[in-house]
């Protein structure tokens, strides 16, 4: 198994690497295009801000590389959001792999809605689809930290409620994205990472 984590200007790559290590997998962290192309599986993690991340990817031509990958790709958190069409976070066009748009939670809240932004903590994922969620019971808890969300749409394979129901995972062809952090989501997260590796 040749697993590559895409290196770019958004953090939490170490956490993903260590989580893979815990389940007995190893990965190479790189922005080398030929290494990314040769990988059996690609993980596109990220904690950070959408427009600066997109600018960084474009400057290095990684945007086109990621869009055209044929092997299974897993976007995590910001990585998933960047795989969507557009993000309201500084209004930036993203990779457009998923048709869904990324919106700001604050716009969805009402005056009497006391929920805080960002959402920080454990929340349920439900209506789970695809083998990414093999052996993951509907309603399982995963760990989230985010202020922006992908709207529900044709590519939704998991839903979570915070202020409103949104896409906590997306899937199209060889591309998967999860809004939560599987690398920090206890046994459930490790099962999802294992499922991705064995896709």
């Amino acid at each position: 198994m040749n697993l590559v984590i895409i290196k770019y200007n958004a953090g939490n790559i170490q956490s993903v690497l260590y989580a893979l290590d815990r389940i007995g997998a190893s990965a190479v962290v790189t922005d080398d295009v030929s290494l990314i192309h040769q990988a059996d599986k690609v993980i596109f993690p990220g904690v950070g801000e959408a427009s600066s991340a997109m600018r960084y990817l474009k400057e290095r031509g990684l945007d086109a590389v990621i869009k055209n990958l044929r092997q299974p790709v897993l976007g995590i958190c910001l990585g998933m959001q960047l795989m969507c069409r557009f993000s309201e976070e500084n209004n930036v066009d993203c990779l457009g792999i998923f048709d869904e748009d990324v919106q700001y939670f604050a716009k969805a809240g009402s005056a009497d809605n006391k929920l805080k932004i960002p959402q920080i903590g454990w929340n349920n994922i439900y209506d789970l689809k695809t083998s990414l969620f093999n052996n993951v019971p509907d309603g399982s808890y995963t760990y989230f930290v985010h202020s922006y969300y992908a709207s529900p749409g044709a590519h939704t394979i998991a839903t979570t409620d915070y202020i409103l129901p949104y896409s906590s995972a997306l899937h199209k062809d060889n591309f998967y994205g999860v809004q939560f952090h599987p690398e920090k989501s206890a046994d459930t997260g490790e099962q999802i990472l294992r499922n991705f590796i064995t896709l």
Binding site: Y18, R22, K116, I120, W122, Y143
Partner: protein, 252 residues
């Protein structure tokens, strides 16, 4: 539904857990990684590691510890204790810490909060406040582990810190800490309802009912405790089942 979080806190000195523990089933109760892993298996939602080491070797010890924790523990964790610079934080995050907490250094140099939020994002910047209610009925900020009083009101400092980019508040009531008589409900509720960020209540948790109250009346987003978990006075699975039976959303 987003759940309330239960957070055990481990005090660390020279890389070892202090304040004692009562876990006979651990090979080494002083090893923070082993104790943290046990809490993770029991259903803790996050962990906080507070370093109280005062030596020059501290920075290296703490980053090595963060590295070991993130290799072995599959839930989020915060590292705090004497963090005073962007560089300190960078090393800890590179070694796998999810969040860091700042206290005295941020009070003395509030720009630090802004610098950290810009560099790493608000989601990893936890502001820890030690506060005490004085005879005038106001809550004041204390520094240096509670040894130094300031004239700043807790609510003012918390508001300023959030404006600067703090993503979460870890609020410890010195009046309640160690008493096991319950959390400080008034100041917890004031901050939690008045600020747009989550508030972790700390200090005073002694019974399972105290946790119910701090969530229902204190409106806390999370509750932190140390010795009651270390000495097995309250077991985390039992606590979470009880909270669930009281209609509080928890991860079971």
């Amino acid at each position: 539904m987003l759940t309330k979080r239960i957070i055990p806190c481990l005090d660390i000195k020279d890389g070892r857990t202090v304040k004692g523990t009562n876990f006979v089933n651990l090979r080494d109760a002083g090893d923070p990684v082993e104790l943290g892993a046990l809490y993770a298996r029991q259903g803790a939602d996050e962990l906080v590691f507070l370093d109280i080491t005062a030596t020059v070797e501290k920075r290296k010890t703490l980053s090595e510890l963060a590295n070991r924790i993130s290799h072995h523990i599959n839930i989020p964790f915060t590292v705090g204790g004497g963090i005073g610079s962007v560089q300190d934080v960078n090393i800890l995050l590179e070694n796998g810490a999810d969040k860091i907490s700042v206290n005295t250094a941020a009070y003395k140099n509030p720009r630090l909060i802004n610098d950290l939020a810009k560099e790493f994002g608000s989601q990893c910047v936890v502001l820890a406040i030690d506060t005490r209610k004085e005879e005038d009925g106001e809550w004041y900020v204390y520094l240096n582990g509670g040894r130094t009083k300031t004239a700043t009101k807790c609510t003012d400092w918390a508001r300023q810190a959030v404006d600067l980019g703090a993503g979460e508040i870890l609020l410890t009531s010195m009046n309640h800490d160690g008493t096991k008589q319950g959390f400080a409900l008034d100041i917890t509720c004031t901050l939690s309802t008045g600020l747009p960020v989550p508030v972790i209540a700390s200090g005073g948790g002694g019974t399972m009912e105290h946790f119910v109250t701090v969530f229902n009346e204190g409106k806390a987003d999370a509750a932190l405790a140390a010795s009651i978990f270390h000495f097995k006075e309250i077991a985390i699975p039992h606590l979470k089942e009880y909270l669930s039976s009281q209609s509080i959303a928890v991860r079971l």
